[in-house]
């Protein structure tokens, strides 16, 4: 394979910051990315993930900190001098150029000889499986094909780093799954280093080697997908990872890492997170699939409705205090009935503090 990623060892963001007036869109982001990694920047909209990507690309000047590619400082370079490949959210294909011209644009700007451009463009188009579409204009392509052109255009320049800004958000659900696999395949084939911005946790979990969870301009947690999925470090990361239920209570026991929480009308068990102490006020956080109707000790809730999901049922209920809960059950429960919910103690998490 002639297209291959340029060589470097690591990319470091050192307390990278960006302020818009008084608003800190990015606060002291420090992160080291090794060559060949697939990194997902994950967070809700407005969390600073796109700002971070634009600072990396040089499209937005940073207002503090630095970016280092090995021993070279690059945050002062203009975007055209950084040589990163970028895939934009709306693709940003040049509407007046054919597919081949779009893909070859970056090489043409570098003054690559024409014969070599033709050869590498052909190869890149083959890699994204668009053979035969070379002479079409972007307007004549479907959304998925435009996406492939955007990827080919970004990788053909053999960038040390490929930046992707929510590249799948404009595609329909089926195409999104297909392109997701495609992006990972291309990443593996080229051995490139990819930074991928998304607000979709499922996308991040399935694609990335490491996930960087961001919130309010700051990094909240960095970790492998399995690690983040099982052990989110804070309650808002947990919430983003699908821990939708929250119950507050007082810690009455901690035994071999499992905390018992006395809650309104019953008690629940969950994994104790670091810093949790006996008699603390604490918050239990659990996914709906880790809460079930159980014995007399659980949290009493009134069932509002049940949904059939094939293998099991998902129930929606409220506690006596009015907090919404969702849970999984093997058989339906009648609306209005009171059940006691218990947690899977190895999966629910208990965080110190309340009102988080």
């Amino acid at each position: 394979m002639a297209i291959h990623a340029a060589d470097f060892n690591e990319l470091r963001l050192d307390r990278l910051s960006r302020a818009f007036g008084a608003v800190q869109a990015l606060k002291d982001v420090t992160l080291t990315i090794r060559r060949g990694e697939f990194i997902a920047l994950l967070g809700p909209s407005g969390c600073g993930k796109s700002t971070a990507l634009n600072c990396l690309a040089g499209l937005l000047p940073s207002t503090g900190g630095g970016i280092w590619l090995d021993e070279r400082r690059i945050d002062t370079l203009r975007p055209e001098r950084r040589g990163f490949g970028m895939v934009f959210q709306n693709y940003a294909l040049f509407p007046h150029m054919t597919v081949a011209k779009n893909v070859g644009f970056g090489l043409a700007m570098r003054g690559t000889p024409r014969a070599e451009i033709a050869r590498r463009v052909e190869e890149a188009i083959g890699l994204v499986q668009l053979n035969g579409q070379e002479h079409k204009l972007p307007g004549q392509l479907s959304g998925g094909q435009q996406q492939r052109v955007a990827i080919a255009r970004a990788i053909v320049i053999e960038p040390p780093l490929v930046l992707m800004d929510e590249p799948l958000s404009n595609l329909d659900a089926k195409l999104r799954l297909e392109m997701r696999a495609e992006i990972r395949r291309i990443h593996n084939t080229l051995g490139s280093t990819t930074i991928y911005v998304t607000h979709d946790q499922e996308e991040a979990l399935s694609l990335a080697d490491r996930i960087v969870v961001m919130r309010a301009g700051a990094v909240r947690q960095v970790g492998a997908p399995a690690e983040l999925y099982a052990a989110p470090g804070t309650i808002d990361v947990a919430e983003f990872m699908g821990f939708r239920n929250r119950v507050e209570g007082t810690v009455t026991a901690i035994e071999s890492g499992v905390a018992t929480l006395s809650v309104d009308g019953g008690s629940l068990k969950g994994k104790a997170t670091p810093g949790l102490k006996l008699t603390d006020r604490a918050t239990l956080s659990a996914r709906p699939e880790d809460m079930h109707p159980g014995d007399g000790a659980g949290l009493p809730v009134t069932v509002d409705s049940m949904e059939f999901r094939g293998r099991e049922f998902v129930g929606y209920a409220r506690t006596a205090a009015g907090a919404a809960m969702s849970f999984q059950a093997g058989s339906p429960v009648a609306t209005g009935e009171v059940v006691r919910l218990v947690t899977d103690a190895s999966r629910a998490l208990v965080f110190p503090g309340v009102g988080l």
């Binding site: 499209l59 000047p61 203009r78 975007p79």
Partner: protein, 280 residues
């Protein structure tokens, strides 16, 4: 948006900004000259006049019979505004909501009077109006002014109506609104801001419309801008300050409406007609 920081880019930016500054400076200079002169007692060969007075305004008002001219101007302008709304808005509604054979041709028909400059079509139009005896009267002036304003209203209103979801009308029908009720309770309130904006633009344009009024007006149907033209044309007959006082009165009349219009529209909409590209 990528902002450069190198020296050559800063120099280039500075050059562009000074061009803009120079243009605006001269623009304000020419307006300020007229205003200053209109308040001057005597102004010859100095930076500023020898003294200040307001008497040119009363002089201009009587010399140029501005009370008559103002009445005529506003009668003409308000007739043009009302009629172009009445003819234009329903047509815009039909153009926005229906696809009928020959629609592109009709669109071209509405574009032409906006693309062809008024002096070019004004001469044959005036000829026809003189032949039919309408020119020289107020109705002739109103008719001539409607030629560009009716298409203008249509072209401003079409995109406005298109962005109103037709399902709103369908919903009103489903809930039992008749045609009149639909118009009164649904369409009118939704379209009112667009109509207001379009008509304000027509108003500003008609006050300033020189060519068509000039070619079709008689002595009793002159608008302010035509009266100003004749005054400048015959300069030397009256004192400069008196003409400038009249120019200031014209300026204030126009700018007051411009300021009102700008509360409802974007400045670029005043040249919006051209954003409508000729039929492609």
């Amino acid at each position: 948006m990528i902002r450069g920081k190198s020296l050559s880019e800063r120099l280039w930016a500075a050059a562009v900004w000074s061009l803009i500054g120079f243009f605006i400076l001269n623009l304000f200079g020419l307006i300020a000259t007229v205003v200053t002169s209109s308040f001057a007692t005597r102004w010859l060969g100095t930076w500023l006049p020898a003294g200040w007075t307001t008497r040119w305004y009363t002089a201009a008002w009587t010399e140029f019979q501005l009370d008559d001219v103002m009445v005529v101007t506003f009668q003409i302008v308000f007739l043009v505004v009302a009629l172009s709304g009445l003819i234009g808005v329903p047509a815009a509604y039909a153009m926005a909501r229906r696809d009928f054979p020959g629609k592109r041709l009709v669109m071209l028909l509405f574009l032409l009077p906006l693309l062809v400059p008024p002096i070019t079509f004004g001469i044959p139009l005036a000829t026809v109006l003189y032949r039919t005896g309408l020119a020289g009267s107020m109705s002739g002036v109103v008719i001539a002014n409607l030629v560009p304003t009716v298409p203008f209203v249509i072209l401003v209103m079409i995109p406005f109506i298109e962005q109103v979801d037709p399902r709103i009308e369908a919903a009103a029908r489903v809930f039992g609104a008749g045609t009149f009720q639909l118009f009164r309770h649904v369409l009118l309130p939704i379209l009112a801001p667009g109509v207001l904006a379009a008509l304000l633009l027509v108003l500003v344009r008609t006050i300033a419309m020189f060519e068509l009024t000039f070619l079709t007006a008689g002595p009793t149907s002159q608008t302010l801008v035509v009266a100003l033209y004749y005054a400048v044309f015959a300069a030397g007959v009256r004192s400069v300050q008196s003409i400038d006082a009249m120019a200031v009165i014209y300026m204030v009349t126009t700018l007051v409406w411009l300021v009102i219009a700008l509360r409802f529209v974007n400045p670029t909409q005043i040249v919006a007609r051209a954003k409508q590209q000729p039929a492609e």
